[in-house]
Point group: C2
Chain length 349, copies 2
DNA sequence: TTTAGCACTCTTTTGGGATGAGTGCTACCA
DNA sequence: TGGTAGCACTCATCCCAAAAGAGTGCTAAA
């Protein structure tokens, strides 16, 4: 849709690179000196004027340099994403950091989030929608009160989920124990994606139709698993890194941004979109809509991690629009790949 | 140790009240107008000079008003703590907010922390050292890998704790099931404070001496419970409220403070001190030592919640030295009392 | 002992001038 | 015709000095 000559592209890229580095508006002199092609500032100025007309650059005031607009950034990112590469040493560091993590999946995910935040010096996020708990391992019903049942659900990968369920009728622990036995037998190793179907089948089977006990057990299990599926967990680490970005020097902005983090459900929705939308790396820039209103000046780089072809969750980095994408994109991408591997191993065992 | 005339006291209190409200140094004119006793600014100035000499007030620069020192604040707090009272409506609001919380203890504690932060417009904290999980309810051993066992431990109050344990020898699930049965029978309803002793006794009993299975089970349970006891959980909510305080307008300070929150273990130690030290409400002011170095300008108001006479945990509010103590102290105190009641009920059932 | 008065101190605010970065435009060159 | 040098012009920012304002300490008087 937008026609750029090669020179336009070079200038745009030079401006963005410089802007990302310094955070200041970039002037024509700077580009002229720095760029490979030897042209005078005046020439650059002409190009800049063109780019501004196309809506790719913006001038804060008459006598300032240019900064890229979101549209300009987007164009740049589309081109950078082709040539992403991560150095071997950096790959090693990521591998090392993740491999020594404990077996506990929750810890692994939190660790990944922390890792991203430290490597990118921004906030790291990992979303794990529970639908993806892979395979069923164990369920346990415990009586807390006359009508109050606690259900503990554990996936093969070792992720624990707990729910409370209110029961209309009073119930004794002995009966709950029978439920546990029955359901554990029924669902052993069934992938979570097929659990609900399996329960439905069983409910229509003979046992459940004629035996009240089985039918109750199935109902309870169904409810508990429903809760577990709906519940996602999200790990956000390194928020304080954001304070280092000079663009958030004002306490006002800072508060707005940090507050947005506190609303977990919003964050989950946000990342869930990213998960659904993408098969590979994805970047959402502030004003491009999907993000919250409080985040106009923020940006999210995300990538799904998966098992085979089914996505399990999504991880990424949140920071200001002005981030070092050329570094962050490959980091996010590699981390997603590597985490996928780790999870595969954990679930195999 | 410090001799204050009644007038000294009134002036000190007036200055502190005003300072807490405005955050600005307070001048003699302001006090003269505001205070009950009718004296001229000049008189006040004399008193102020005295108070300053005693180290209770401080003058940022020659031509500024006075602000209280930590020492002055402390004196004021000691006197205010006697006359704390909370309005009936406020009590009702706290009751209402907590009573509708879900049965889930973890949620209850997080909710309490949130409540404190919202009511006081500062950060709220709740520390729950696991030693206090009250009574044993259920344990479950699950085989994740050949040498990898997951242990789920549940208290009567419904708090779930999970640990991974590595086993030297390979183990099968069937054996673990036997362990679960045995330990559950053994420890049913035993208060956590006595669990370790109970295990020790059993270890020396006949069963364990002659049967390898029992002895293994006891060992594993012992380790798992050890982990559970050492692990404490802490809930910190409403950190962004701190951003509203004008004293933290500078990003530098803000980062320092928010970063201190990220180190959970430090926070746990801090609150643990508060738990051990006190039987009632307790206030730690920045420079008084216990607090972290990063927190010189902060203050913690805390109170333990308990069951009968044994303290279960501690809750409180963290904010700047300049807080509305006259409101926060009774809130913290009442919340602690009320939470104690709630927990008693939860553990009874 | 209290108070009124006053000189004094120090911070904060205000405004104008200098500075400098960067632009747009025009005229000129290859 | 595309590129370049030159130049006038525009703003934000820095700096400094003057003014304003808040509050004190001290002295002398009631």
């Amino acid at each position: 849709m937008i026609e750029l000559t090669q020179r336009d592209q070079i200038v745009l890229e030079a401006i963005i690179t410089d802007y990302i580095e310094t955070g200041e508006p970039v002037g024509s002199r700077t580009i002229s000196k720095r760029s490979v092609m030897n042209v005078s500032p005046a020439t650059i100025r002409n190009v800049m004027a063109d780019l501004e007309e196309m809506g790719l650059l913006h001038q804060p005031h008459t006598s300032a340099g240019r900064i890229p607009t979101v549209k300009g950034l987007r164009l740049y990112l589309d081109s950078i994403m082709r040539s992403r590469q991560l150095g071997g040493t950096e790959k090693e560091r990521i591998r090392g950091a993740l491999q020594n993590r404990p077996q506990d999946i929750a810890e692994l995910l939190r660790g990944t989030s922390l890792l991203l935040s430290q490597f990118c010096r921004q906030a790291g996020v990992v979303l794990w929608p529970r639908q993806s708990i892979a395979s069923f391992k164990h369920i346990e019903f415990l009586r807390l009160g006359p009508n109050d049942i606690m259900v503990i659900l554990i996936s093969k990968a070792g992720l624990v989920h707990q729910t409370h369920i209110e029961s209309k009728e009073e119930i004794v622990q002995a009966e709950l124990d029978k439920y546990s036995l029955y359901i554990n037998e029924l669902l052993r190793n069934v992938p979570f994606s097929r659990v609900k179907q399996r329960i439905r089948e069983e409910m229509e089977g003979e046992k459940a139709l004629f035996d009240r006990l089985f039918s109750r057990a199935l109902q309870l299990a169904n409810r508990a698993i429903q809760y577990a599926i709906e519940d996602s967990s999200i790990y956000i680490e390194g928020k304080t890194n954001l304070l280092d970005n000079p663009e958030f020097a004002h306490v006002e902005q800072m508060r707005r941004i940090l507050q947005a983090f506190e609303d977990k459900s919003k964050m989950i929705r946000l990342l869930d979109e990213a998960l659904k939308a993408s098969t590979g790396i994805q970047i959402v820039l502030g004003t491009e809509g999907e993000l919250l209103r409080e985040w106009q000046e923020m940006s999210l780089v995300s990538a799904p991690f998966r098992r085979g072809d089914t996505p399990l969750g999504v991880l990424g980095v949140i920071g200001p629009l002005r981030m070092d994408y050329s570094r962050i994109i490959p980091i996010v991408e590699f981390t997603a790949q590597f985490l996928s591997q780790m999870l595969e191993i954990a679930d195999e065992a």
